[in-house]
C-alpha cells in the first residue's frame, strides 16, 4: 500500500482466503452433502468427493416439500412487497417533499414513527387485524353507535358486520409488511438532494406536478429504485414470522417456512441430503438477485444508512 510490507501482505492474503473459506464453508459443505446418497451423508465426516445423486435429491426435495408451489408463493410475496412498498413510498415522499399543505408535518411524523419498528413487535394485534382487516372500521362504526342511527333511519333493526379476512391469502402475506417507512425515508433523502432548479424550470414551463414527477423525478430515481428492488425483494422472500402465522394452508405458505418439514427429526431417517438440496434450491432466487444486481445493492445498502 504505502510502504513495502511483504510479510504483512502475505498474511493479508492468507487471512483473506481463510475468511472467504470460512464464510463459504457452510455452502460448500452443504453442496457436497446434497449430491450424496443417504448412506454417505450419514457418515461423519461426509466424503468430500461429490456424489452423483444431486438431481435425485433435488427432485425428492421438490416433490416432498411441495417446493414448486411454495417458491411461487415466496415469489408472489416478495414481488408484491417490493412493488407495493416502492410505489407507495415514492408518491408519499413526493407529496412530503414537493408540496406545502396544512397536514404535511403530521403526515410526515406519523409515517416516520414507524421507521425502526418491525412487524415483530406488534405481531399479535397485527394478526387480529389480518383476521379481519375491516376491524378498525367496525370499531369506529360501533363507537359512533351508527347501528342505532341507521335502525332509527330505516325503521327496523339494522346491524352492520364488517368482515374481511386476509388469512391464507397473498394480500395478507403482503400488506402488513408494506407498512414501513424505510423506503419513504430513502426517497425523501434523495428528493432533498435533487437540485431546486429542476423544479423551478419545470414550473416555469408550466408543467403540472404529475408531469414533473413522471418526466423528471421518476427517471432521476431509477438507480435508487433498482437498489430498493434488491433490498426489498430479499427482505420479502426471507420473511419468517409473519408468513408462519398468517398462513395455515400448506399450499399458501412460503418456501422458507416449508423447508422446516424437510429437516430430519430425531426419529426420522437422517435424510440431510434431501433437506440441504431443498435449502440450496430455496435460497437460490434471492442469492441470484443480489449477485446479479450487486452494484445497486451495495449502493442501496449504504444509502439506507444516511
Amino acid at each position: 500500500m504505502v510502504e513495502k510490507t511483504p510479510i504483512l501482505d502475505t498474511f493479508t492474503y492468507v487471512f483473506l482466503v481463510l475468511g472467504i473459506f470460512i464464510v463459504g464453508f457452510p455452502i460448500i459443505y452443504s453442496l457436497i452433502a446434497a449430491t450424496l446418497p443417504l448412506e454417505d451423508v450419514s457418515k461423519v465426516p461426509i466424503p468430500l468427493i461429490p456424489g452423483d445423486q444431486f438431481m435425485v435429491n433435488m427432485k425428492e426435495a421438490w416433490t416432498r416439500g411441495n417446493l414448486g408451489t411454495q417458491i411461487f408463493n415466496s415469489f408472489v410475496m416478495a414481488t408484491g412487497i417490493t412493488i407495493g412498498k416502492i410505489s407507495i413510498s415514492i408518491i408519499g415522499a413526493f407529496s412530503i417533499v414537493y408540496f406545502d399543505y396544512r397536514l404535511r408535518v403530521v403526515a410526515f411524523a406519523s409515517v416516520f414513527c414507524t421507521l425502526m419498528l418491525p412487524v415483530e413487535v406488534r405481531i399479535m394485534p397485527t394478526y387480529e387485524v389480518a383476521a379481519n382487516v375491516l376491524g378498525p372500521l367496525q370499531a369506529l362504526w360501533d363507537v359512533l353507535h351508527l347501528n342505532t342511527l341507521v335502525s332509527w333511519f330505516v325503521g327496523h333493526d339494522f346491524e352492520m358486520i364488517l368482515n374481511w379476512s386476509l388469512l391464507d391469502s397473498y394480500t395478507g402475506l403482503i400488506m402488513p409488511l408494506i407498512a414501513s417507512a424505510t423506503c419513504t425515508f430513502l426517497f425523501r433523502q434523495f428528493f432533498l438532494t435533487v437540485p431546486e432548479e429542476l423544479c423551478e424550470a419545470a414550473k416555469m414551463d408550466g408543467a403540472s406536478p404529475m408531469t414533473f414527477f413522471r418526466k423528471i423525478l421518476f427517471p432521476l430515481s431509477k438507480t435508487n429504485i433498482a437498489a430498493l428492488v434488491v433490498i426489498e425483494f430479499v427482505y420479502g422472500y426471507n420473511q419468517y414470522l409473519w408468513p408462519l402465522l398468517v398462513t395455515t394452508n400448506p399450499d399458501m405458505t412460503t418456501a422458507v417456512i416449508g423447508l422446516q418439514d424437510l429437516i430430519p427429526q430425531a426419529d426420522d431417517l437422517p435424510e440431510w441430503n434431501v433437506a440441504l438440496a431443498g435449502a440450496l434450491l430455496v435460497m437460490l432466487p434471492p442469492v441470484l438477485v443480489v449477485m446479479s444486481m450487486q452494484r445497486w445493492f451495495v449502493k442501496g445498502l449504504i444509502e439506507k444508512e444516511k
Binding site: 500500500m1 510490507t5 504483512l8 493479508t12 487471512f15 483473506l16 475468511g19 472467504i20 464464510v23 457452510p26 459443505y29 452443504s30 451423508v41 461423519v44 407507495i88 417533499v97 414537493y98 408540496f99 406545502d100 397536514l103 404535511r104 403526515a107 406519523s110 425502526m116 419498528l117 418491525p118 413487535v121 406488534r122 405481531i123 399479535m124 394485534p125 397485527t126 387485524v129 407498512a179 428528493f191 431546486e196 423544479c199 404529475m210 414533473f212 430479499v234 419468517y240 414470522l241 408462519l244 422458507v256 417456512i257 422446516q260 437422517p270 440431510w272 433437506a275 440441504l276 435449502a279 430455496v282 434471492p286 442469492v287 443480489v290 449477485m291 451495495v298 445498502l301 449504504i302 444508512e305
Partner: protein, 296 residues
C-alpha cells in the same frame, strides 16, 4: 424540510400520501394501539371476557423468572451476534482493503450470504453442528475433548444459534466497513506512514476512529437484527430450547401469545420490546451520532 420550489394543490398531496397513511394506520397504529390496550387487560384464553387490571400484566412479567431469564438470554445473544459479526466483518474488510487488486472479486465472494434467509442459515449450521451428523461438532469433540450436544446443553445451543445468526450478518457488516474504509482519504494514511507509524498503529490511530460512525450504526443494526430477524434461526434450530436457554424475547412473545394464548402477557411483552427498540433508536440518534467522529 421542504423544497424552495414547491407545488400548491388542494387535493393532490393528500391523494399521494393517502395510500401510505392508510396502510400505516391499519397495519401499524391500530395494532399498536390494540396491543397497548390489551396489555392492560386480563382476558380468559377464549377471548370471551376481559377485565381492566392496570399494570398487573407488566408486574407479572417482571416477576416471572422465565421472562427475566429471557431478557438475559436476549442480551447475551445480541451482544454475541453483534461482536462476532462486526469484528469478523471489520477484519475481512480491512484485509480486503489492503488487497487492492482483488477487491471486486472478494466482494462478490463475500456478499451473497446476505441473501440467505436466517432460517436457511439455521438449517446449514444445524447440519454442521448436529451432535451426531455434524462435521464441526465432530471437530469440537475430538480437538477440544468436549461433549458437544446442543440438544441437551443450553450453552452449546446458544453457541449454535449465535454462529448461525452471525454468519449471515458478516457480509452485511463487510459491505459497510468496505464502503467506510474506501471513504477514508489516502493522504491521511500516507502522512502517518511518513511520520513512521506502522500499519497497525495507523489502523488504531486513524482508520478505526474514522470508522466509528459506521461502527456504531452497525452495532445498532446488528442488535436490532438479533432481536427480531433471528426468529427464523431459533424456530428452525432450537425452538427456544433446551430448557428455555435460547428463548429470546421475540420468541417468547410468539410462544406466550400464539401457543400459550396468554394475550395480556404477550401484549405487555410486545410493548416492552417496542419501548426497548424506541429507546435504542433514540439513543442512537441523540447521543451516539454526536459523540462519534465523522469524516469531511
Amino acid at each position: 424540510m421542504i423544497k424552495r420550489a414547491y407545488f400548491k394543490s388542494s387535493y393532490l398531496p393528500y391523494l399521494l400520501i393517502l395510500p401510505q397513511v392508510l396502510i400505516t394506520l391499519t397495519f401499524f397504529y391500530w395494532p399498536a394501539l390494540q396491543g397497548l390496550i390489551q396489555s392492560f387487560l386480563l382476558s380468559d384464553p377464549f377471548g370471551q371476557s376481559s377485565k381492566f387490571v392496570w399494570f398487573y400484566n407488566y408486574l407479572e412479567i417482571f416477576r416471572d423468572p422465565l421472562y427475566l431469564k429471557s431478557i438475559v438470554t436476549t442480551v447475551v445473544f445480541s451482544l454475541a451476534v453483534a461482536s462476532v459479526s462486526i469484528s469478523l466483518g471489520l477484519f475481512i474488510a480491512t484485509m480486503a482493503n489492503r488487497a487492492l487488486q482483488a477487491t471486486a472479486l472478494v466482494r462478490t465472494l463475500l456478499i451473497w450470504p446476505y441473501a440467505v434467509a436466517p432460517a436457511i442459515s439455521g438449517i446449514l449450521w444445524l447440519f454442521l453442528l448436529h451432535p451426531s451428523y455434524g462435521v464441526v461438532a465432530l471437530g469440537i469433540n475430538t480437538w477440544f475433548g468436549a461433549e458437544w450436544n446442543p440438544v441437551l446443553n443450553g450453552n452449546d445451543a446458544m453457541i449454535m444459534i449465535t454462529m448461525a445468526a452471525s454468519w449471515k450478518q458478516i457480509s452485511y457488516n463487510f459491505v459497510f466497513f468496505m464502503a467506510g474504509l474506501q471513504a477514508i482519504p489516502k493522504s491521511l494514511i500516507e502522512a502517518a506512514a511518513i511520520d513512521g507509524a506502522s500499519p497497525f498503529k495507523r489502523f488504531w490511530a486513524i482508520t478505526f476512529p474514522l470508522l466509528s460512525p459506521t461502527f456504531f450504526f452497525l452495532s445498532v443494526m446488528n442488535i436490532i437484527y438479533s432481536f427480531f430477524e433471528t426468529f427464523g434461526v431459533i424456530h428452525t434450530v432450537t425452538q427456544g430450547g433446551p430448557g428455555g436457554s435460547t428463548n429470546i424475547l421475540v420468541y417468547k412473545v410468539y410462544q406466550d401469545g400464539f401457543v400459550g394464548l396468554n394475550l395480556g402477557s404477550s401484549s405487555a411483552q410486545s410493548v416492552v420490546l417496542m419501548s426497548l427498540i424506541i429507546l435504542i433508536t433514540v439513543l442512537q440518534f441523540k447521543y451516539v451520532e454526536k459523540k462519534v467522529q465523522y469524516t469531511g
